[in-house]
C-alpha cells in the first residue's frame, strides 16, 4: 500500500493506477435534490449558462445534473430517489476509443477520463457513445456579459464554441492537493481533496477520495452492500458508486 500512495517525482513516471484511483460515492437516500452541487460545479468550473431557448433545446452545459423519475399515477405516485449524474470516470470508457484526435483520453495516473480541450475538434462522437449522457457540447460561444467574467476561476480553462466538455472530478483540486502534499513531503490525506459538488452538498451525500486506499471513507462506502454502479451491465467500470435504499 505504501508504494501506491507515493507521488512520483515526474508525472511521466506514473504507471497505470500508481497514483491511485479517485472515486466517488453518492448516497441517494441522503440526496435532497437541492441542486447545490449543480450550482457549485458551475461556479468552480467556469461553466457557461446558455439562456432559456437553448436550455429548452437541451443545450445546457451542466456537468452534473439531478435525475428523478416518476413511478405510478396519483394517488399511488412515487418519485424515484434523486440521482446526481456526472461523468462516471469509467475505467473502460466508451467515449475514449471513438475520438479521432485523442482529445478524450485516459489518465494513467489518476484513472480519470480526460478531455483535452485544445485537441477537441468537435466531432461529438464521444457524447454519442457515452451511455450516461454526461458530455456537453459548446454549440455557441455563450455570452457572458461584463463584468461576470470577473468570477472566472483561473485554475480552469474557459472553453469556446465547438468544444466538448464534461466533469473532471475537479482535477485542478486534485493537482493542487498533490502539489501541496509533495511540497510538504507527505501523502495526501483522506478528505483533503474535495470536489466542488461534494464540498457544497448540504446533506453530505457525496463523498470523494481514493479508492485504492482501503482505509479511506470513500472505499469503505463503495464496498457497502447498498452500492451499485450506474448501468453496470455495460461493463464500463465506473468510478462512481451510488448507494441505494436506506
Amino acid at each position: 500500500m505504501e508504494k501506491t500512495l507515493t507521488i512520483p517525482e515526474y508525472k511521466a513516471d506514473w504507471a497505470e493506477g500508481e497514483n491511485g484511483k479517485w472515486g466517488m460515492v453518492i448516497d441517494m437516500d441522503l440526496c435532497t435534490g437541492c441542486q447545490a452541487c449543480v450550482a457549485a460545479c458551475a461556479m468552480e468550473n467556469n461553466i457557461s449558462f446558455v439562456g432559456e431557448e437553448d436550455a429548452g433545446y437541451g443545450r445546457t452545459m451542466h456537468w452534473i445534473r439531478i435525475e428523478r423519475f416518476w413511478e405510478g399515477t396519483y394517488p399511488e405516485i412515487r418519485m424515484t430517489p434523486y440521482q446526481p449524474i456526472l461523468c462516471q470516470q469509467c475505467g473502460h470508457a466508451p467515449c475514449e476509443p471513438v475520438c479521432p484526435v485523442f482529445a478524450s483520453v485516459h489518465s494513467q495516473a489518476e484513472q480519470i477520463n480526460l478531455q483535452v480541450y485544445n485537441r477537441c475538434v468537435g466531432t461529438r462522437y464521444c457524447a454519442n457513445n457515452c451511455p450516461y449522457q454526461v458530455r456537453v457540447f459548446n454549440w455557441r460561444d455563450w455570452p457572458r456579459p461584463a463584468p461576470l467574467e470577473n468570477q472566472l476561476n483561473p485554475s480552469v480553462t474557459v472553453r469556446r464554441r465547438g468544444i466538448m466538455e464534461k466533469c473532471t472530478f475537479c482535477i485542478q483540486r486534485i493537482r493542487q492537493a498533490e502539489d501541496v502534499a509533495k511540497s510538504e513531503g507527505r501523502e495526501i490525506r483522506d478528505g483533503e481533496v474535495v470536489p466542488a459538488c461534494a464540498q457544497a452538498c448540504p446533506a453530505d451525500a457525496i463523498v470523494f477520495g481514493r479508492l485504492d486506499d482501503p482505509e479511506s471513507r470513500v472505499s469503505q462506502l463503495a464496498n457497502s452492500p447498498r452500492g451499485k454502479k450506474l448501468l453496470e451491465e455495460l461493463g464500463t467500470l465506473p468510478q462512481v458508486t451510488y448507494l441505494l435504499g436506506g
Binding site: 437541492c34 447545490a36 458551475a42 431557448e53 470577473n150 468570477q151
Partner: protein, 719 residues
C-alpha cells in the same frame, strides 16, 4: 474602547495593534480603506498566483450561513461554506453558490442617482455628498412621525443602526419584511409557540434526534427558516447517526414539494384540514394512552377522515407510527399555516408534540441577549400601507426589501407609494421598488459589506455571524450605514450625539464591545481590535455551550382548541397553491446561473409554470406547454401548463420568484408573479393566507414551450 475614533487613529491602532491583528487576519481591519490600485501596488495580502480566503456571511437569505470566499487578485472566485460555522458547518445551498452572480451582475446599480419621474429610466447621477445631503435634509425636515424605514431581513447591524436612528429622531421603529418570511408564515409559527407553550421564540426542530418525523407543509429542505442547517439534521436522521435506525419521514401537503419528495410517505390531504388531521392523530394517541388533552378531546375522527380525505384506518396507522416511535417529531410549517385557520392549524400540530417527547427546543437568543427581530406579518405591512395611503408617511427609506414585487398586488403597496412625497431606496439591484423611488443610493453588495447577523434559528449555540468585504466595492456604491451616519452627523444635535460613530465599522465595533466581557465564547480578546480581527477571521462569534430553552408542555395539555374550517376566497374550482421557488428563493431571479439550475421536482429552468394533475389536465383537454389563463377574483395571468403527477386534482400550484417587471435582464419579463392574483386575506396571526385563493383556468389556445432539463432525458416520449 473609545466610541469616538477617527479614521487616522483607527489606522494607527490597526498598525500598532499588534502583530496579532496583522498575522491572524488575512485582510485586516485596514481593508476598508483599500481602493482599487494598479497591480504593481498590490495590497500586501495578495500574492501572485495564490488565492486569499475571507470568511463572511451569506446574504442570499437571512439564515446567516457562514461563507469562506476564495478571492484571487482582488476578484471573488468561489463561495464555499465555513466549516466551523454553527449554522451550515461548511455547506452551502445553490443560492449561496450563485451569490457571485449577484456581485458581478451586469445590471447592478452603479452609483447614486435621482430619477426624473417614478418608474422612469431617465436619471440624473449624483455624487455621494449630494446623496448624503438629500438623506440629511429628508430626516431633518420631515416630521418624525412622517418618516418610515422599511428594511429587509438582513443585515442585522443595519437594522440595529436604523433602530437607533429612529429612536434618536423620534420616528417609528423600522419595519422588516421579506417574501421568505411571508412564505414561511413566521409570525404564525411564533404566535402558535407563544399560545401553546406560553414561551416566546422560534422552535428548533431537532430532526437528527428523531426517528419518526411528520411534517405538515414545512419545506425545510428548500427555503424554510434555515434550510442548510435543516438539511444537515435531515441527513443525520437518515443516517441514524444519533438513533441506531434510519429515521422515517412523512409529509402532509396537497402538492409533493421537493421536501415531500424525500419523504417515505407523502399524504396529499385536502388543503386547510391540516389542523384537524393533527387533532385526530392527537386524539387517537391520547385515547390509546388514556390521557386527557383538551385540545384533542372533542374531535370526531370519522368527520376528520371525511374532510381531509385520509381514511380512519390510515389515520390509525399513522397514529400508531407516532406512538411506536422511540422519539417522534411533528413540524408545522409552510402552506399548512397559510390558511385562514392557519394559526389554529399550527397550534394543533405543535400540541401533538406534547404527547411525544419531541426533540423541540426554542432557538437561543443572540449573544447580545436579544432575539433576531422578526419580519412584519402581512397585517403589519397592511398597517404601514394604510399609513402611506392616508398621507401620514412623508419620507420612506427602503433597504433590502422589494415590497412592490413581493406583496400581493391587491394590498395596494404600489398605489400607496404614490402618496408618499419622498421615497429613497438603497437598493443594490434595480428592482421594482427602486424603480418607484425618487432617489436611489445603492448599498454595496453583501460580499463588499461589513456587518453582522443574528440567527432567527438554525443552531443551538448563540451565534453572531460576521460579514466583511471580500473584495473592494466594484462600483461607486456606499454602505447605507455610512450614508445614514454621515447624514446624522450633518443633522447635528441630539441625533448626532446618539450616533457618534465615524463609520460603519466603528458602529459595529461599538456594538460588539459588550462581547469582550463574555467568557464562554469560542474565542476572547482583551480589546476590541483584536476581538474584531478574530471576529472577521472566524466568520463570527459563538458560544461553546448550547443555550436553547426547554419548552414547557404543561400548558398544552389543558388548553382548549377549536380549529375552524378554512375559508377560501373566490369561486374557482381549484385551490391555488403558490410555493417559493426552492432554487431562486425570493430574490434569485437576476442571477443567470440560478435561472439555469433546474427546479428540483419539475426540472424547469428560466420561467414560470403552473402545475396541474395529469388526470385533471386530460379532463380539461390540456397538454404540457398549453398556455392557460389563471383567474382569481383579484385578477388573472397567463402561464404554461406543466402536468405534475404528484398534486391533488383540486389543486394547482405555481412557483413564486419569477414574474419580475424590473430587476435586470435575467429577471425582467420572465414568467408570472402569483402575488398579482392573491387575495390578501390573513390568518389569526396576521400572516398572509397565501393558500386561501381559489382560481379557475381558462384555455387560451396558445402554446408556449417551457425549458426543462427532463425533456432531453426522454421522460416524455413526445419531446
Amino acid at each position: 474602547m473609545s466610541q469616538e475614533i477617527s479614521r487616522r487613529d483607527f489606522l494607527k491602532l490597526g498598525g500598532l495593534g499588534a502583530v496579532a491583528t496583522m498575522v491572524l487576519t488575512g485582510c485586516g481591519t485596514a481593508a476598508r480603506y483599500v481602493r482599487r490600485t494598479p497591480y504593481t501596488k498590490m495590497p500586501e495580502y495578495t500574492f501572485t498566483g495564490q488565492s486569499t480566503y475571507f470568511a463572511t456571511t451569506c446574504r442570499e437569505c437571512p439564515a446567516a450561513c457562514g461563507l469562506i470566499v476564495r478571492t484571487f487578485q482582488g476578484r471573488a472566485i468561489k463561495v464555499e461554506g465555513n466549516p466551523n460555522h454553527p449554522v451550515n458547518a461548511g455547506k452551502t445551498c445553490a443560492r449561496g453558490q450563485a451569490t457571485l452572480h449577484g456581485l458581478y451582475n451586469p445590471d447592478r446599480i452603479q452609483g447614486p442617482f435621482k430619477r426624473s419621474a417614478r418608474g422612469s429610466e431617465q436619471i440624473t447621477p449624483l455624487d455621494w455628498n449630494a446623496a448624503i445631503q438629500v438623506v440629511a435634509q429628508a430626516l431633518r425636515e420631515t416630521s418624525p412621525q412622517g418618516i418610515a424605514f422599511l428594511l429587509g431581513m438582513a443585515p442585522d447591524h443595519l437594522f440595529d443602526l436604523v433602530s437607533d436612528l429612529a429612536r434618536a429622531l423620534g420616528a417609528p421603529a423600522p419595519i422588516r419584511f421579506g417574501a421568505l418570511g411571508m412564505f414561511e408564515a413566521r409570525a404564525t409559527l411564533r404566535k402558535a409557540t407563544q399560545n401553546v407553550l406560553g414561551q416566546d421564540g422560534l422552535p428548533w426542530f431537532d430532526l437528527g434526534a428523531a426517528n419518526v418525523v411528520f411534517s405538515f407543509g414545512a419545506n425545510f429542505l428548500e427555503t424554510w427558516l434555515s434550510p442548510v442547517a435543516y438539511t444537515r439534521l435531515f441527513s443525520q436522521m437518515r443516517r441514524g447517526e444519533r438513533n441506531e435506525k434510519r429515521g422515517y419521514f412523512v409529509q402532509f401537503e396537497p402538492r409533493m414539494s421537493q421536501t415531500a419528495s424525500k419523504a417515505d410517505e407523502w399524504i396529499p390531504l385536502r388543503p386547510g384540514t391540516e389542523g384537524w388531521v393533527a387533532q385526530a392523530l392527537g386524539k387517537l394517541i391520547a385515547d390509546a394512552r388514556g390521557l386527557q388533552v383538551a385540545a384533542f378531546s372533542g374531535v370526531n375522527v370519522e368527520e376528520v377522515a371525511q374532510n381531509s380525505g385520509i381514511e380512519v384506518a390510515e389515520l390509525q396507522r399513522l397514529a400508531d407510527l407516532l406512538m411506536k416511535a422511540r422519539r417522534a417529531l411533528v413540524i408545522p410549517g409552510g402552506a399548512a399555516l397559510a390558511h385562514t385557520n392557519g394559526l389554529e392549524n399550527a397550534e394543533a400540530i405543535l400540541t401533538l408534540n406534547a404527547l411525544l417527547d419531541a426533540p423541540i427546543t426554542l432557538s437561543p437568543l443572540s449573544p447580545f441577549g436579544d432575539a433576531y427581530h422578526q419580519p412584519a406579518s402581512l397585517q403589519e405591512m397592511a398597517a404601514l400601507i394604510e399609513r402611506m395611503r392616508r398621507g401620514e408617511v412623508q419620507a420612506l427609506f427602503i433597504h433590502g426589501a422589494n415590497p412592490v414585487f413581493e406583496l400581493p398586488a391587491a394590498l395596494g403597496f404600489a398605489e400607496a407609494l404614490q402618496k408618499v412625497p419622498l421615497v429613497i431606496s438603497f437598493a443594490t439591484f434595480p428592482d421594482e421598488t427602486a424603480l418607484q423611488a425618487d432617489y436611489v443610493f445603492p448599498d454595496h453588495h453583501g460580499l463588499e459589506s461589513w456587518g453582522y447577523q443574528r440567527l432567527a434559528t438554525g443552531s443551538a449555540f448563540p451565534t453572531l455571524s460576521s460579514s466583511q468585504p471580500v473584495v473592494v466595492p466594484f462600483y461607486n456604491t456606499q454602505a447605507t450605514a455610512d450614508v445614514l451616519l454621515a447624514a446624522a452627523a450633518q443633522i447635528g444635535g441630539a441625533v448626532a450625539q446618539a450616533l457618534p460613530y465615524t463609520d460603519e465599522v466603528a458602529y459595529i465595533q461599538a456594538r460588539l464591545s459588550p462581547l469582550l466581557e463574555q467568557k464562554n465564547g469560542f474565542f476572547g480578546a482583551p480589546e476590541i481590535n483584536t476581538f474584531f480581527a478574530y471576529f472577521q477571521q472566524y466568520g463570527g462569534w459563538w458560544k461553546t455551550t448550547e443555550e436553547t430553552v426547554k419548552p414547557s408542555w404543561e400548558n398544552a395539555f389543558n388548553r382548549r382548541l377549536q380549529v375552524k374550517a378554512a375559508e377560501f376566497a373566490g369561486e374557482g374550482e381549484f385551490h391555488l397553491l403558490p410555493f417559493i421557488s426552492p432554487v431562486l428563493g425570493e430574490a434569485g431571479a437576476n442571477k443567470p446561473w440560478l435561472q439555469e439550475v433546474p427546479d428540483p421536482t419539475t426540472t424547469v429552468m428560466w420561467n414560470s409554470w403552473i402545475e396541474i394533475n395529469p388526470q385533471t389536465a386530460e379532463e380539461l383537454g390540456l397538454q404540457d406547454d398549453d398556455v392557460v389563463r389563471v383567474v382569481s377574483d383579484q385578477g388573472s395571468f397567463e402561464v404554461s401548463v406543466y402536468r405534475y403527477p404528484a398534486i391533488r386534482p383540486d389543486v394547482v400550484a405555481i412557483v413564486f420568484g419569477q414574474g419580475h417587471t424590473a430587476y435586470g435582464r435575467y429577471a425582467q419579463g420572465r414568467g408570472v408573479n402569483p402575488g398579482q392574483i392573491l387575495k390578501p386575506v390573513t390568518n389569526a396571526a396576521g400572516d398572509l393566507a397565501f393558500a386561501a385563493t381559489r382560481v379557475r383556468l381558462e384555455k387560451t389556445g396558445k402554446k408556449r414551450a417551457i425549458s426543462r432539463l427532463e425533456s432531453i432525458l426522454g421522460v416524455y416520449g413526445e419531446h
